[in-house]
Assembly symmetry: C2
Homo-oligomer: 438 residues x 2
Amino acid sequence: MITTTLHPGSGGAGVVRRTVLPGGLRVVTESMPTVRSVAVGMWVGIGSRDEAPEHMGASHFLEHLLFKGTPTRDALEISAAIEGIGGEINAFTAKEYTCYYARVLDEDLRVAIDVLADVVTSSLITPDDVEAERGVILEEIAMHDDDPSDVVHEQFSAELYGDTPIGRPILGTAESIDAIGRDRIAEYYRRHYLPTHTVVAVAGNVTHEQVVELVAAAYERAGALGGDAEPIPPRLSGEGVPPARSGLRVLHRPTEQANLVLGTTGITRTDERRFALGVLNAALGGGMSSRLFQEIREKRGLAYSTYSYTSQYADTGQFGVYAGCLPSKIDEVLKICREEILRVVADGITEEEIVRGKGQMRGGLVLGLEDTGSRMSRIGKGELVYDELLSVDEVLARIDAVTSEDIDAIARDVLTRPMTLAVIGPYEDKDFSPFVSV
Amino acid sequence: MITTTLHPGSGGAGVVRRTVLPGGLRVVTESMPTVRSVAVGMWVGIGSRDEAPEHMGASHFLEHLLFKGTPTRDALEISAAIEGIGGEINAFTAKEYTCYYARVLDEDLRVAIDVLADVVTSSLITPDDVEAERGVILEEIAMHDDDPSDVVHEQFSAELYGDTPIGRPILGTAESIDAIGRDRIAEYYRRHYLPTHTVVAVAGNVTHEQVVELVAAAYERAGALGGDAEPIPPRLSGEGVPPARSGLRVLHRPTEQANLVLGTTGITRTDERRFALGVLNAALGGGMSSRLFQEIREKRGLAYSTYSYTSQYADTGQFGVYAGCLPSKIDEVLKICREEILRVVADGITEEEIVRGKGQMRGGLVLGLEDTGSRMSRIGKGELVYDELLSVDEVLARIDAVTSEDIDAIARDVLTRPMTLAVIGPYEDKDFSPFVSV
């Protein structure tokens, strides 16, 4: 059992420590002595990217099943244990990881750890539960299909990455969910939900020793501790990520608004240029003072919601701009999106925008630190998917260090790649031409 | 200028103080000495209930226009002032009030107060801005129309309250927004956005004196301070709230899921029985351990999202259950909703459910208190719409005091009223019969 102090914090606050338990289970904690709540997350390094095509949606299906029952708790007992003490418990599945989390009062730390460790290590996955939950997943897919702003992002990913693991929907499809058998899911669970693939992250008014003791005891009870396995290293590559291309996907839907995403591949999670891309993104479409918001919404009233975004994965990323507008306005909106992208590539962004963009990134980080959930996510995800966990001060320093040249360079790289366009709206055969690189 | 201490807090934390400035402007603050952020809200006692039918949507339209410009700041300067320091600024319009708010680092308190006071007191509302923003509102209405889970709640309100101020949509309709002229909105602004109708609420690492000084200076500069007007009292009644009735509204939409709300009138905001109704609501549909979630989702897999809710207004309220399910499942889901409602009326809820429901309400309150935004909302909304601002301990005591008899009594009152049903889905002429009271 090796414990290291990753960040010393100051005055007892912000101390980040890490312990590797026998069997390769990692525990990371961050001390927040002035709060009363504690956030606990169990991060498993498995997601929809790890699925075979015929089992699309298995990671997310499994995430649901973990709340259905263990040898010692049924579904009601799992939720009642946390809700009865005023806490919340939930989970989410991403392309490269899955997270189970709870937020409770600090005095209830043990309950949160016990319940989460129980579901992560000891799910029964009974055939009856699989059948009932299959219905729930099909409902979730249908609900998601009724939200065009969700669907357009999924369609964009599918067009950008094609029929590859990272291009497929996290929820799967009604067909794939209908087809997955109970044994396949149980096997997926046994194979991937291992202590070596798991990080337990806790932030709040706790000590590291207390957390390690409770986690070790819970995993011990489940027979999931022991052995000399090492934690898996961060995922650094993935299967089948194609290069950026000029793609176009138009989905006919009888919606009131058209929804569009225009974008391309971005950069990887560990790319040092991510801080420069963050400042660029803030200036182009990161808030109400951004160029897209000002040009599309403030000056012309063409959309309610418009923004740009970046997302990062192990071996790729995305950069995209989104807008929702009346179907008759889409040509004008697309024209502005393209012009603003070209303008940034040609002229860069202003000194004022750089200062503002850095302020936005800094503020978002610092203001988020009062929330136990945000801190827990930062250290849990950080431990699982990054090579190193930067301290908040280190992140702030890297944001500050971004130069105008860095921003120009990343704009000329990412924003000149071939662009893919996804559109959802009441169009039968409208002519959309994808953006051609400059 | 009269300052009162509403709650003494303990150890310098949780002190709630209130000052009435000349002209009737109220300032309430809550001290949170261990945080770095501060939340500032300006609450104006005006909302969609105050609109004439032909100006439906005026309050929300106005809320948008306030971000467009003042004599000293244009739209970009308003958003950039806050975003450049890493903060966030936004607003929302409700049926009975409108709130403008910002969250920034404590050292930036002055910026947040200056910008918010500027937009609330000194908006220009130019004809050009009105025209550009009219387009944005029409986009927002279209976006909202594309979200069936939003639309079903609005349809339920419309059916429950009929064509009355509280039954109309907050956003208005495309027709009403097209028809509102600039002068009408400017007049609405001048008439209602008065210091007497406004509460400035601040929570965070601040002193009351510092906040009062900054607010007074900002209002002084705007010429909005002075006079001997008294703050308006809380709204205690409204125009035209009809009694509960058996209503039915079916909206045809080609959605994947049907969305339904089944419910009736609830209780008013100041009704002492609201704590008992809260516990009842938690047990019936307040979380994953609730009856509706267990019966509809856990056991039968018939929905992804299902819950019950209560909302309170000055002179009425709502109690409703929501579910989204595949169109073929709606009869079964509705049957369960009705059975669970009848069962609670007939047999009450169990001791275990009472304990859990109280724990849920308590935890939600206490866990929310670490967030400056939640604390700001509690005191700001409290000052504006309640007769008295309860301390957190007082709220906890009232939750604890709820008895099984209180819950039975409120169930037999509210849940036996005639029920209204709103459904959205791919039904042309399906036969839905609204719930008939027991």
